[in-house]
């Protein structure tokens, strides 16, 4: 097992063992979301756009950036489909919770190892 794999696995192990996953989520959302919003701008994803984007957010964490993007499209009445993937089951559970509580039909979440995942058409 590589160092990276060891860290990725322990991300869930450590945080589920002592209940600190929520603080991890809160911390990563505060730090990473502004960078993700800038990423949307650079990608040309910030509405208004002339297309119906299908976005794959790989290593999505708790899904906060995807949620912000989804909200912005909803506010403008524009369509978007977002698939969130992460290797961490804890993070994907957090995304799933957002999806279910918001009853979002245009967002999906999957636990995926980016190195071995199936083709996109299988995920969607």
């Amino acid at each position: 097992m590589s160092t990276n794999q060891g860290f990725r696995l322990s991300w869930d192990t450590h945080s589920s063992a002592d209940g600190s996953l929520q603080s991890v989520i809160s911390l990563t959302e505060t730090i990473c979301t502004p960078f993700s919003l800038r990423q949307f701008e650079l990608l040309g994803l910030t509405p208004p756009v002339d297309s119906h984007p299908r976005v794959l957010d790989n290593a999505c964490g708790s899904g906060r950036p995807a949620e912000v993007l989804r909200e912005e499209y909803e506010r403008r009445g524009q369509p978007i489909d977002i698939t969130c993937c992460d290797i961490s089951p804890g993070m994907i559970a957090a995304v799933q919770q957002r999806i279910e509580s918001g009853n979002w039909k245009n967002m999906k979440a999957h636990v995926v190892n980016a190195e071995v995942w199936p083709p996109f058409w299988d995920i969607l």
Partner: protein, 160 residues
């Protein structure tokens, strides 16, 4: 888009799989860190708590990921086109110095970094971190602080 390209153990394989998932000409974006200011602060605090000046900076991916050339090379090898990288400086705004210490010491990475520490060293870390923060932010007192965070954002495109 991805905010975790520094974590796969086989970057080439991960990029190949991501590329296969995209339609022709689809844009892609990757974000990774040039500087995570909170680890630099906690490194100083760790040296204070352990009295060990040789302690390494906390790092949880290969150091080459602090350079934009690393991803440019990987993206070229994977066959992506129109690669552009920008450097973005967006500080982490934290409510107070004590909130900073509470948040950083609750991270799994911190627990891994300190797993071999004695209880005495672990007990000292809060005071040490606050001491470092007082030096860095002498005017903040109990108010908010801004911790430097610098990231690279890469934009590219799948070919035809």
């Amino acid at each position: 888009m991805s905010f975790g390209i520094m974590f796969p153990s086989d970057t080439a394989k991960a990029l190949a799989r991501m590329k296969a998932a995209l339609v022709p000409h689809a844009p892609v974006s990757f974000t990774f860190w040039k500087k995570q200011g909170f680890w630099e602060i906690m490194h100083k605090a760790a040296i204070c708590a352990t009295s060990d000046p040789t302690l390494p900076v906390p790092k949880f991916y290969h150091p080459s990921w602090n350079h934009s050339e690393t991803l440019i090379t990987h993206l070229h090898h994977a066959g992506f086109e129109d690669i552009k990288i920008t450097e973005e400086n967006i500080p982490w705004k934290v409510d107070s110095k004590s909130a900073f210490v509470k948040l950083t010491t609750s991270m799994p990475q911190w627990k891994i970094y300190t797993k071999d520490w004695t209880q005495e060293q672990k007990d000292k870390i809060v005071d040490c971190a606050l001491e470092v923060l007082d030096e860095l932010y002498p005017d903040a007192e109990h108010g908010p602080i801004e911790v430097p965070m610098v990231g690279f954002i890469a934009i590219a495109r799948k070919g035809s």
